[in-house]
Symmetry: C2
DNA sequence: AAGTGGTCTAGACCACCCT
DNA sequence: GGGTGGTCTAGACCACTTT
């Protein structure tokens, strides 16, 4: 029943490190290598598969990255069990994900204006309450349905006139294009859960008090300058995320 | 104002690839390398820093893994913007995380018994409705507060007596220890949001109808055998998760 | 002392992109 | 054809663990 080749096939288009990773991954999924088992030493694998050590190490590094095993200097490489009580989750870019699934998606701009910063905005952008900020509200839709609500407060640059046309379409980073000092270089994201209030529920076409993901965003430019703060609400009845276990 | 060495320090304990990754990362965070910019070719970096190509590539690979840049064969290596509309989130193992924070945590077993599979369990474990399964309910607590509710349905192995003592403590994988055929080798995790019902809210000491994370788990053993299914509820008022941007 | 993983080199050849 | 990243080798030395 073992149709799998346990050898590196030079005719195969896949590189050797990838083939080896696949072979080892298969042994783990087969139960031939079990939790706690030690992998053969790298030098043994080199001999067994006719590969150099760097290539063998690269295959093992792939599996380590996926959390299938761990390495201990001086001791060996050991198989981990599956991540039962936790894992990694990716929240993909909304429009990218939709277009990948062949679904048309749009962003609708609800509001974009200069307002005075309230308590929360001032605190998060480290400005004074009452200072001017650009406020922006958007809804992202797909299949004729609103799915994500986005609200952002953006640092207002008095040296630059505020242009509504610049705002509101697909990609947020473009908001800052042309203003190198305000270009975000880092984003701190925080994922939590919340219950939609009446306004949010109406915009998202949900019943009030339903649950949603909330992804808070704080965008940093160079020199530790905070350039934008806000959050996105993902409808709880339309989104779920899967742990990463990219098949090899 | 540039206190950063832009050279590899052989006296430094950090390996060369790591130092180079730190230097490049700093240039991105400084805004010296901006979104869309092309990195110098690998061979240039080799010369500039006096490193072999493999070492330079390893540094770049680190940054690529973190989503800071991407590579295109034949064209070059380019800086990405920060992941504004999505990112990676890790949900850590509950007890590991608590002990890391110096907080004592416990697991309390509420129920462990053999029951007949209902519709959902039968569907998810691919058994017949009414077949026997092991049912288990646990609450994980820290700081005197219940924080996570766990409910699992485990494949019942008639050849093996069901022992309540085996169940219920810290680590789920141990449930299967000693039964190699049932040892999980893979876990499919699905993250969603939900609203706590009366029973769940009481067990978690929350008000009813509050929001929570729901992490559904399907555990697979070798031969594509489904060995357990269930879900964990994380109190929404006590949990939030941060995107991964490990500082270099 | 022997065995293990961690780092690094100085080359080599290949696949792809652009001119 | 020249430049880029992608893969691979056959060594070397080091740090750590175990015997």
């Amino acid at each position: 029943m073992n149709d799998l080749k346990d050898k590196i096939d030079v005719e195969d288009f896949a590189p050797a490190y990838y083939q080896l990773a696949r072979i080892l991954n298969e042994k783990i999924m087969n139960g031939k290598l079990r939790q706690g088992d030690r992998l053969p030493p790298e030098t043994s694998l080199c001999e067994e598969f006719g590969l150099s050590r760097m290539t063998v190490r690269r295959a093992i590094a792939m599996l380590e990255e996926q959390g299938l095993l761990y390495r201990q200097r001086g001791k060996g490489t050991f198989i981990k069990g599956p991540p039962v009580d936790g894992g990694m989750f990716m929240i993909p870019d909304f429009h990218q994900e939709m277009s990948k699934q062949g679904i048309d998606s749009t962003t609708r701009l609800l509001a974009a204006k200069v307002v005075k910063a309230g308590e929360a905005e001032a605190e998060n952008l480290k400005i004074k309450k009452g200072d001017k900020v650009v406020y922006m509200e958007r809804v992202m839709e797909a299949g004729g349905e609103p799915l994500v609500f986005d609200r952002k407060f953006i640092l207002y640059d008095p040296s630059r006139p505020f242009l509504e046309e610049e705002i509101g379409y697909e990609s947020s980073p473009e908001l800052f294009s042309g203003f190198p000092e305000m270009q975000p270089v880092r984003a701190d994201l925080t994922l939590s859960v919340t219950i939609l209030n009446a306004m949010e529920a109406e915009l998202l076409n949900c019943i009030e008090s339903s649950a949603a993901f909330r992804m808070e965003q704080l965008l940093w430019a160079a020199n530790d300058l905070r350039v934008a703060w806000g959050w996105m609400l993902y409808r709880g009845d339309r989104f779920e995320f899967h742990s990463l276990g990219k098949p090899i």
